[in-house]
Symmetry: C2
Subunit: 389 residues, 2 copies
Amino acid sequence: MPSDPLPGLEPGLEPGYDVPALPGMSLAEIETPALLLDLDLAEANIALMAARAAAAGVALRPHAKSHRSAEIARMQIEAGAAGVCCQKVAEAEAMIRGGVPDVLLTNDLVDPRKMARAARLARTARITAIADDLSMIPAWSAAARAEGVELPMLVEIDAGSAACGAEPGAPAAEIAKAIDAAPGLRFAGMQAYCGVAQHIRSPAERRAKIEAAAERVRLTLDALERAGLDCPWITGGGTGSWEFEAAGPWTEVQCGSYVFMDADYQRDAAAPGQALGEFANALILLTTVMSKARPGVAMCDAGLKVQSMESGPPRILEPDPGNSGLEVLGCADEHARVADPNDLLRLGDRLRMTPGHCDPTVNLHDWLVGVRGDTVERLIRVSARGRSW
Amino acid sequence: MPSDPLPGLEPGLEPGYDVPALPGMSLAEIETPALLLDLDLAEANIALMAARAAAAGVALRPHAKSHRSAEIARMQIEAGAAGVCCQKVAEAEAMIRGGVPDVLLTNDLVDPRKMARAARLARTARITAIADDLSMIPAWSAAARAEGVELPMLVEIDAGSAACGAEPGAPAAEIAKAIDAAPGLRFAGMQAYCGVAQHIRSPAERRAKIEAAAERVRLTLDALERAGLDCPWITGGGTGSWEFEAAGPWTEVQCGSYVFMDADYQRDAAAPGQALGEFANALILLTTVMSKARPGVAMCDAGLKVQSMESGPPRILEPDPGNSGLEVLGCADEHARVADPNDLLRLGDRLRMTPGHCDPTVNLHDWLVGVRGDTVERLIRVSARGRSW
């Protein structure tokens, strides 16, 4: 029995059943667990990153894998982003339906059906694909021709993660030449993303890792030049490292987490003087003490189904753990176990936490509860949530 | 532009956009990553557990937190289950809308709004709640009276996990007495669930842990008898331990994972002669090699957004890791890194894996792809996915 939608809620949603909170609620009225987005802080992060990228002379193409939300992507584009990055075709489909005009698929695809879906998207939006293996090129060419589109493509090099990406230099240039020669494809540049650098705790080591990646990029630029190929677009970088990529030769940075930040990035940002330290923790997990049956410990209603623990525990923001010794010891499926050495917590008390890792935490939620000050302003749909195919 | 639904697909869903596969597809046609449910194996697990519980003389109330799917709950009830357990009110709401007539809320609730929602459900279904603290009882009583229902309630004791649950014996009996005396509530029994026992690797130690829990139950039964309270319902037990609870004094077991099984339970089941070893791995993560840029390693398209790694890595089923040395080394958000010491894998090769931990893995997916033999029979909606509030 759907009711009329409330102002600020999408039509077709049943208040009280389909969403974890309603527009107009106060913070105290939100049932827990809930993942909140502080809109003032998120908007400030979006504006700040746009300004920093512009000042550094690089384009900003935020990675939508962090938020998986067309609404947040549109906020980023309105603030000046060139478009977004996506990891999955299904993610790109949701972004484009949600009004995003320009998507870079940053993941290697090998299934011709996925290539066909990507090429189909290129009829209504700008889609760019990548490849790290020569054998992918004929299939991409066939997909583009079947849809009657010209697909820009980047060669992906291994920027130091030893995961995906072709060997820098001549092997990468061979792939670029194959793209250039393939009907339906247009060689457009290079992706060099160093994932392992993002969470190196020492800023100096993080910088050194990106300087090593820059050498790999330059080696590849030389090989491309010898092959007679222009490389106008060099994309990579994340929230942890972008200031080093922005120093060149990259032309574009792919930061995603900066919108939210998380406890893991907060630990990275502990060293002063980093670009990382400028961004605010806009993502807040709201949870309630639902069992306090023994001294020294409290059980909260926020387990592995509402937060990812794989990059370490969340950081408790409130009550202030500085004085109280509060600390998340671990999570079961539905519960977080909180050390409460001074037995400060009572049944029904609410805790606010910064999640350990933003991307997989956001992907657990269909909705972010967008709050401004003490009030729910709107529900933000994580429109590509679960869309990994 | 919604198309007509295909046979075996819910109305209103757009084939090719809303779901990761379509009824009638062959296994080879399913795009990856996809979480498959082998229907023959799942149905056999459901029938076997029902038979084993009946033979042991205990009721079976499967835990819906494992599958979060009203469809699977209905399959369990048709096979003889007494109802289901839920951890969250929003989960219970989805189960009852999906046709489940009887839900035990196995989690402690402290928010009066959640109690009101639970009491509202009791107008159309049988809902039982639990409490581990005296202070919860007046609020539950008020919620039941406001909805004009009588709520059966259990006292929850700490069965050895030192997480939730009242102290066994007199403290638990005090809570039972308060339930008994409260208008709108009816004291119905006891919950004693020992979560920490489920994954003790040694069957002997697992048995010992449940025997210790049984002592706590008996201590509480004595206290209840002294208080003049009947305790006809004693519920607890999980897939790892249920055979020990079924020996008594429990009257009901709450197994959930047995429908799916997972790599963690498979490691537990390595010791012979256990009930655990009878259940088949019905849950399969299908993934594709999407980068093979260097020797010794392959990157697959199945990261932390499609599988939980917090109970250890998945187990590769196919290609057979016995001969090839294949092993999942770790996951990033979108990728699994697979050791491939003999460079057996090629781009586009498909791997089948048993996920490490079923509950949080299933909760990442909106749909299970129900396969029978080599064909997709139907899509199974994870109808309470993400519903943690």
